[in-house]
Assembly symmetry: D2
Homo-oligomer: 325 residues x 4
Amino acid sequence: MKFNLDCHLFCFGTFSERYVPTGYFDKVDVIKAFETIASTSVRGFMNTWKPGILPEDPEKNKRFLLEYGLVPSLVLIDNFGDRKYKHGAFSTSQKSMQKENMKLCKEGIDFAKALGVHSVLLWPAHDGMDYPFSVDYNASWKRMVENFIEIAEYAGDMKLAIEPKPQDPRQKMLVNSTGKAMMLINDIGRGNVGLALDVGHSFAAAENPAESCVVVDRHKKLFQVHLNDNYKNADPDMIFGTVNFWENLEFMYYLIQTDFDGWCSVDIIANRENREDSFRTCVRLIEKYYEMASKLVEKKDILQSNMEDYRFSKNVDLISNIIFR
Amino acid sequence: MKFNLDCHLFCFGTFSERYVPTGYFDKVDVIKAFETIASTSVRGFMNTWKPGILPEDPEKNKRFLLEYGLVPSLVLIDNFGDRKYKHGAFSTSQKSMQKENMKLCKEGIDFAKALGVHSVLLWPAHDGMDYPFSVDYNASWKRMVENFIEIAEYAGDMKLAIEPKPQDPRQKMLVNSTGKAMMLINDIGRGNVGLALDVGHSFAAAENPAESCVVVDRHKKLFQVHLNDNYKNADPDMIFGTVNFWENLEFMYYLIQTDFDGWCSVDIIANRENREDSFRTCVRLIEKYYEMASKLVEKKDILQSNMEDYRFSKNVDLISNIIFR
Amino acid sequence: MKFNLDCHLFCFGTFSERYVPTGYFDKVDVIKAFETIASTSVRGFMNTWKPGILPEDPEKNKRFLLEYGLVPSLVLIDNFGDRKYKHGAFSTSQKSMQKENMKLCKEGIDFAKALGVHSVLLWPAHDGMDYPFSVDYNASWKRMVENFIEIAEYAGDMKLAIEPKPQDPRQKMLVNSTGKAMMLINDIGRGNVGLALDVGHSFAAAENPAESCVVVDRHKKLFQVHLNDNYKNADPDMIFGTVNFWENLEFMYYLIQTDFDGWCSVDIIANRENREDSFRTCVRLIEKYYEMASKLVEKKDILQSNMEDYRFSKNVDLISNIIFR
Amino acid sequence: MKFNLDCHLFCFGTFSERYVPTGYFDKVDVIKAFETIASTSVRGFMNTWKPGILPEDPEKNKRFLLEYGLVPSLVLIDNFGDRKYKHGAFSTSQKSMQKENMKLCKEGIDFAKALGVHSVLLWPAHDGMDYPFSVDYNASWKRMVENFIEIAEYAGDMKLAIEPKPQDPRQKMLVNSTGKAMMLINDIGRGNVGLALDVGHSFAAAENPAESCVVVDRHKKLFQVHLNDNYKNADPDMIFGTVNFWENLEFMYYLIQTDFDGWCSVDIIANRENREDSFRTCVRLIEKYYEMASKLVEKKDILQSNMEDYRFSKNVDLISNIIFR
């Protein structure tokens, strides 16, 4: 892989949530946020469509980013942050919302092409169900697949990355796991449609992110990687590497060995400490895991051989000696 | 028990959350909300302190409620809805916040006494941890216990109900389960301190709410009951009885048999359908479960006898015949 | 669908487990077990390969079953019940075990053809991982897919049903969800390979079984259905319908509307009450759910229309009136 | 604390389980097992009552252990490994089983006294419920508390450690969490009754073991510590430290700072690699975590101060520099 880090401005959000609707912080000083980003090894920026704070004009957008040593890396279509999407941007039965979403996605793809980003991120956030007997699954899947096909064909050469998540904001989301996303991608059947592997979503879906990475890469569908952490029972977007050490290390070990040429996105929320320190700590931890995993990759022949011989103990000893003081 | 239903205005909130910070609804028309409440069998209202929308003056508050056939039932101290509480209202190391919280709690208790409510609700929402090595557990517990003791002594005859919850808004909350709350209540050691059993929190903590109800009632500490539902992996405050049928039925069956003389609170969020319909549907379902459980209570001698003989099959057959068409 | 119930002899096992290795029961009296089965509406029997207790000779096997009014319905390949399969029957790196498993699977398929059953069940039970850095995911997936292809081609017209499960006996299983199984089935790419939807596994994977049923059926891959229940955090194979009422009802509602022409398997373990009563109670509950779901299917135009209009409350009221006394 | 490691022979079991009832291994060569134990820093041995393989005569038992440099550390009452305990050794309604269990517990306590061990382990394994409407919670709790009181009074000076666990072998166990155990211990109200903190059970109960350790120690009730690991959704007794790095490190950091003078028990099952290697790897990992945590304890003033100032980022940087190469 090429190890490219990018991020988005949600890392510097107000972090409003259900219990603290006015957020844990005031609106960020955008200049301060970009200076913080620029002080790290992050070199890419994930725009949203519509961009909100940054310029909508692609050239101005690029120039703005360039001042901070950044390039546009990805574009996220924001078809989830408003109540109007509550029945699902991709699967809704509401004709007008289907149209509105289609228009937004196509505009976002145009924007992405103009920026020259690696890929566009699509997250079916509200496409799911809360209650038994509340959603027509068959009709919903049909519409979702058809909409994705239309978007994929419009995108042409631009890659589209679909991001699975088990729950939140819906109690059960239609694209709830790496496996389900791979099924969907197959149903869509277009070469430019792949998967965004969010490590935290993968943990929340009781997956092993390393295994998910390998399986998706086997199918050449690893388009994006999002980095954060959690306790496996929710997706709070915690600082990467602060909870699941071994699994994140293993994930990085396999990721390094892929041909992935996209971006690893810093994708965290830090609501109880200042956002700048949290961001920098997260980048440092990602670098540390990358560095430790790289040392393990140097020993990959031994490691993989112990695996194929089912000698886990030997790997624990080997890794401990390499990693710990 | 006496079957008294109350509710709070959060059932008619905008339901802003992390992904939809501006909420799923506009601010409710308060009159419409109270008319909806008045159209059901709900007869109590849980004020917050500070009350926000309703009058702070106790007499005016009561008069307002009386117009809708309601009495003030409970008071919830809102020491969690603002970012300033982010390190925990009860356990924070910040001296000024300790003072501010203590003042708020005492004012709320005064308000509760003036209203003549059954009990005051205290929810240690931000008292917990997110990251390993981020919180001093010993100092936090010490402060939390001491603060609760001071509040309990101030409250005198007014009952205080502490509400446990496993997570959200913290990743791990200090008072995370019925058992932990019972330990805390014992540490506080004041007769007027008991427990608020939120059925959804109990499910999210992998408890059986019926068993929690029985155990807390054995200790005469069942002060409040909150009704909602979920898939056991989060606390979305769904309409009571729409997910966990058998366990909610069993909960109601045991609750009816206690001497509980407080309020059962309708405690739901309904972000994808109109709030009024959801509220009414929830009240109807609660009534239905109460009615079905009451029929089972009539057969309690047989049911309990089958339990003590470990003949579950007989109970399934008996209950199915009573409940289902 | 055609509503055909079958079962296997595991329902009458000794239920040995980790903490009670000698089991909760003595070995069953086979005659008594079959008399119990015959006393219910179960009409099919899932043989294992090798059959163990029943005759290996297909004609004798069929004659034995006929005495109890049963036909051979399915064949389960038992490539998980012995320690030798501990590194995975389908994905192991051990050449000799690959061969042994291949031979067993082919023999089982021959047996299935001779019996004339609907389909063969394949469960990759030990194909997974316990520890990070213990299994080579890429090599494992490659071998698993290749082995399934060879088995599928050997099977010819005989249907093969692959059964996903999130964990147990492995901490993480490779085929851990409906989605992952669908990806695997697509990778195998043979028309006779489909999915066994075990409702309990689906719950344990945090799925909504109704949605899984619809999605798999959309792909014409619903080959088997296994019925049991659990608390969503493990797979104890409890009596169907005793925990998740609404979701099981919704599952049955959608299942009835498919063209499924296979078998619904009673798949329970009842270790603390006598096996015969538990079995009969389970069959009665399945029939009850089928009956209730059938009543709902009669109203499917209204139900689906309320779903497409996102009017959940109306469905709750409608269903409650139909179902509850 | 004094850092004393002990273990039991279950680490060298056959590991029979539900799917592999004949186990993953043949019966261990006892001499080989004890030689393995003796080759590590383990210095204590947890006998079971009845001891099974080791001598029942206390002096012979001690002499046997002495040959391997071991002392008797703890006694575990085995009132769960036989089907007869299926309705709960402590809470059952069956009079004869109540008597039988009481006799076993008292004999075990006599044995423990004769051996001079630190404490006796009591695990209410089958005391719980599987199905709603299957167990009388009130009667069960009453009997359990009364039985524990009788046992505690008989034990006199001998310490009793009650071990909570959320589930398995029951779907829901009565003593399901650290908090519930503390409530029970308070109900029992005898000074010699405390808690066995099994790190894996604590994870499975969604607790933070470090916080549980601190809270129990605050009450002077930390009597035993069991070391293993898991993915938080089950209790497979994996090698300590192979999954939850940060939380286990934090746990060790706090444990070291207590006055705990009991034993830390190696409590693992290793069914897919040879038992001897797994055991030695586990001991080495425990030592490594102890060593790393000890380095952190040297910096405890800074660490705790950062916690009280809510400066998590500083702790991450500090700890990373101390721990990682």
